[in-house]
Symmetry: C2
Subunit: 617 residues, 2 copies
């Protein structure tokens, strides 16, 4: 473990030094933490291998940090927050051991009930996902990933490229691996306390118990904003409570026992709420009263909560830090997370519910075997190789359709016709109206040369359009090599979507789906997930955008073939996984026909990696 600085972080000379120590370590089979790190603390063994004087109290929370300064700050802050740690690890320059190695090492830490991570980047995406998924099965991981605003500007060739930032890939990776992504340091440790100290809720229905209506409303707003619901409460619970609270009190949820009720009433009401089968979790929200002590309240809440397998979170406002307030200290000792303001209850409880949901999805997925989609990967490879051999970085239109065919993704009826007459014959065969597109490796932007004609209604129109296109192309490019004309059945009606995939440098294929339209980069009505995708994951992706409800038949519109769209998404993900030379695919639009009638990939753009190594990541 090398704590010293003066390595990569200082420039070229330092980087050289770092390379030297790295080689020495490798030569002798030594694993190394750092250099340029704060070090390591293992509190339960009273082990402090850092240059910091004070160690936090032993506790259930592990903390892994890619910033040494942040370790120091957190250690300094922990006592006033009443938070104890199991391990605190600073990773420094990660010359050898990286964040994923250290994450895996937490599997042995019986003292750690939740792992918090401060991340600036990840060394190896797939390994991180694999390790984090494994670790998440036994212990929640909460991550604060920074650098959201500093996404490097990248050259992009499609909507999908413009919309898929590195940050979306991180979010998708975390979601896949069950890592809960906190949006602030406050959330990181708010969630950690709740997850470490309280059991997970079995559902999302919350009981709120308060002595101040206003604080109760603030809590309810936050809970509902976080996607949780107010528990309805049974009549039995209300009947039990009614004679035990003041006449003006509310026995409806949020239960408001009013300022005239003390610890005893809290005990009765909390017990009743926890026993109510409609309640999955309880939030105790208290404005202090002069006539009874917060200490007795803390004791009562701790005692009742400890008997239940449902989570209890508290907001007793106005307690000083646990180091100076007896009541705050009691809540901490009884492992009741207490938050200064009611809003934080909503965020913390939602994180617990998200974890429960992820665990259940894992269980469901393990029970249902789902084969990857059938496909002809060799045929697809041949198409891609042909384009690469020709030195092209974008597929021609008909090659895009061949790729779709190889992966079982339906496209509109049609095909490539070498001449205008062939095009007219093909149009007769597939039926009108048709679209016609000129195909030539010399023509990148077809519309520039009037190379696209829509809604052609008869053979004459097809022939005339093809002749005119050829003339314009020859005029512009001087007898360009024209492969022919793509004839396609025009699809009318149906629900339009955009489906695409990019290749993230860290995490590989990142699938995007959502509602399409010219303004998709403004509306950002799209969602992201990493490949491969199971059917249920493709369905969930659609439901994260307006595409889901629109496909289901919005405002009385007939339902579209959502299953067919999900199938396209699953197949596209598989295609990108199988064929690492693909940099981007965008299908825009996918048209979903009425339920049972399928969906079609109407326009397909495929961009190849300029650099094959990027594809191999």
């Amino acid at each position: 473990m090398i704590l010293s600085g003066g390595f990569r972080e200082t420039g070229a000379e330092g980087a050289q030094r770092e390379q030297e120590i790295k080689e020495i370590a490798r030569r002798y089979g030594i694993r190394m933490v750092g250099p340029n790190c704060v070090g390591l603390m293992v509190t339960h063994q009273n082990l402090n291998i850092t240059f910091l004087k004070d160690m936090p109290a032993p506790g259930e929370i592990g903390f892994l940090s890619q910033s040494g300064g942040l370790c120091a700050a957190v250690i300094n802050w922990a006592p006033q927050a009443g938070i104890g740690f199991s391990r605190i690890i600073s990773l420094g320059n990660q010359s050898d051991i990286n964040e994923t190695d250290m994450l895996a090492a937490f599997e042995d830490s019986t003292n750690t009930r939740v792992i918090t991570v401060y991340l600036e980047g990840i060394d190896d995406g797939p390994t991180f996902i694999e390790t984090a998924t494994q670790v998440s099965r036994t212990r929640p991981i909460v991550a604060l990933k920074v650098g959201r605003s500093q996404a490097a500007s990248r050259a992009v060739a499609s909507h999908t490229g413009a919309l898929s930032g590195t940050d979306e890939a991180y979010s998708a990776a975390f979601k896949r691996a069950g890592v809960l992504r906190a949006s602030s340091m406050e959330e990181l440790f708010d969630w950690a306390r709740a997850l470490a100290w309280q059991p997970l809720p079995q559902g999302n229905r919350v009981g709120v118990l308060t002595n101040a209506g206003g604080l109760g409303i603030v809590a309810v707003d936050a809970l509902e904003a976080a996607g949780l619901k107010l528990a309805p409460l049974t009549e039995a619970t209300k009947a039990f409570l009614r004679p035990r609270v003041l006449p003006a009190a509310s026995v409806e949820n949020p239960v408001d026992i009013l300022g005239g009720s003390g610890s005893a009433t809290y005990a009765l009401a909390l017990d009743a709420l926890l026993a109510d089968p409609t309640v999955d979790a309880v939030c105790v929200v208290q404005a202090p009263q002069d006539w009874f002590s917060s200490t007795s309240l803390a004791e009562v809440v701790g005692e009742i909560a400890s008997r239940s397998r449902k989570p209890v979170l508290a907001c007793v406002m106005g307690l000083e830090s646990p180091s100076t307030s007896a009541a705050a200290n009691i809540l901490n000792q009884r492992r009741i997370p207490n938050y200064t303001f009611p809003e934080r209850l909503g965020s913390a409880l939602a994180a617990m519910w998200h974890r429960q949901t992820w665990l259940r999805e894992q269980k469901d997925a393990a029970e249902v075997h789902e084969d990857p989609p059938a496909r002809d990967a060799d045929a697809a490879s041949a198409v891609l190789q042909r384009a690469r051999d020709a030195g092209r970085t974008a597929l021609l239109a008909e090659e895009g359709y061949e790729l779709m065919a190889a992966y079982g993704i339906p496209t509109p009826a049609g095909g490539l016709a070498p001449t205008a007459d062939d095009a007219a014959r093909m149009a007769e065969a597939i039926g009108y109206p048709v679209a016609l597109k000129i195909v030539s490796p010399a023509i990148v932007h077809k519309t520039d040369v009037g190379g696209v004609a829509l809604d052609l209604a008869d053979a004459g129109a097809v022939r005339a359009a093809a002749d005119a296109m050829r003339d314009r192309a020859n005029q512009r490019f001087g007898n360009a090599p024209i492969h022919g004309f793509l004839v396609q059945k025009m699809l009318t009606g149906g629900q339009e979507l955009i489906v695409g995939v990019t290749r993230d440098a860290q995490f590989g294929p990142l699938v995007m789906a959502g509602s399409g339209g010219v303004a998709v980069e403004l509306t950002r009505d799209v969602a992201f997930a990493l490949a491969p995708l199971r059917r249920a994951q493709a369905a969930a992706l659609l439901d994260e955008t307006t595409a889901g409800p629109l496909l289901d038949g919005y405002r009385g519109a007939p339902a579209s073939d959502r299953a067919a769209v999900e199938d396209i998404i699953v197949r596209l993900a598989q295609l990108a996984l199988d064929q690492p030379c693909i940099a981007e695919i965008e299908i825009n639009p996918v048209i979903a026909h009425r339920a049972g009638a399928g969906a079609s990939a109407v326009d397909v753009r495929v961009i190849l990696s300029a650099d094959d190594r990027a594809g191999a990541a």
Copy 2:
């Protein structure tokens, strides 16, 4: 001031009692606070008219609360946060004196530099806006408005109705009046401290000064997410800093002086950043170090900041509460707001910048006189009266167009033709293609009887469509009274928008504008503002949605006539203001033609108030 409970909050008998005391007060000309409130504290006069024992320290923050429990909670919490108050007022049942009266009373409070408000509802919307605007000119108001999630379900007749909740009206009212809307109790007091203690920034470019890279990145993420920018820093600043910091330090923004630099370096660097003309505000972010005290840092930051007219906010992590930590106490005494985590700097500084922006808008608006739009209000009233006399609560299509005409809102060429032949003649006059719609008070949903025909290309088609419609209508409704046929020029191309107005019970006409489409209730790509609207306000409304950039010409598309759309919005707002019997108007779509070619209200739905009193609110 009546602190006792037992009134309206307890039921019918209590309400009766409350009515009695209200009448007594009125009879003798006595103004009354309460009943059922905690009371009033004026700290600088050591005046405590509540049933609470402890008063917070005197300070610059006023607190006005519609929840007594929240007052008690805040008073209890204030010492640990190091926050002092000027006045704390609990409003109770507001039988006489309400939140707006008390807000106005703050104008006399020389000790109050910022007013914080906990709101559950407002008594009288227009008076609140007028008073709050007046008060905001001299003192910032920060409000926490709760009950977002509890919007009563309402019967709605349009997209506009479904999208315009009470909460949107509150947000629009706050924005109009310069009231800063906090989303949590933490923000309420985070913002209040920043606004009360530091000068407003003159721009949105922020310098970040830190000794820990990780914390600096967290701060930058939060600042950028809140709409602020990193100051570029001048070369002179960087040249000054370079020899004064460690070799591995960063003199680029965020300036990272590293853990090996102490209070003296903070002093030099903070002074340099505040002197830099590219810097509008500075955030000092510090991870504690063993080798120098946070106390000296607090003194240094306080001293340098006090010499500058630019705001300085701090995040010195890990300080205990000001009541137990010397450093936290010094920062509070020097009026440097200190936040536990860096993310809160972004939120607080953005609130300061929003206030500065509002003050500037007020100044600009005062300098430019803008007449309300010319209109024929009498003609519009006559149209509305005619419908009301006929007992209708929705205008007929042609009446909607008459209303638009009276307010100078352009509609597609066309008009009402009594017979099929008249319709054909009218179509010849205006040019093809045309749309044809049957007009009958008996037919509410025209599409049910095939009462709409689009894209009719010649006189024969118009005549045939009209005859067919009449036949179907007669068949369905048995010789329905048919007023005739609305003939309209079909508009092709152009940018489609939705513009509407509803009448909020508290705040009157609430204007909505944004991108249209069938899924507008899912995408919610719309923004809200209260009537009347100045031209600049209409423009700002469009820019809150994707409609703004789309109108400006998105991705190389030609620009549309944005000015014409803004004009329609201003006129629609005026119409709703002038005509209180209108409950809802929805123009969907408004089509904006190419720049200079105007915009048209294509489809206009007007719903009248069933109850005239609602209209008068």
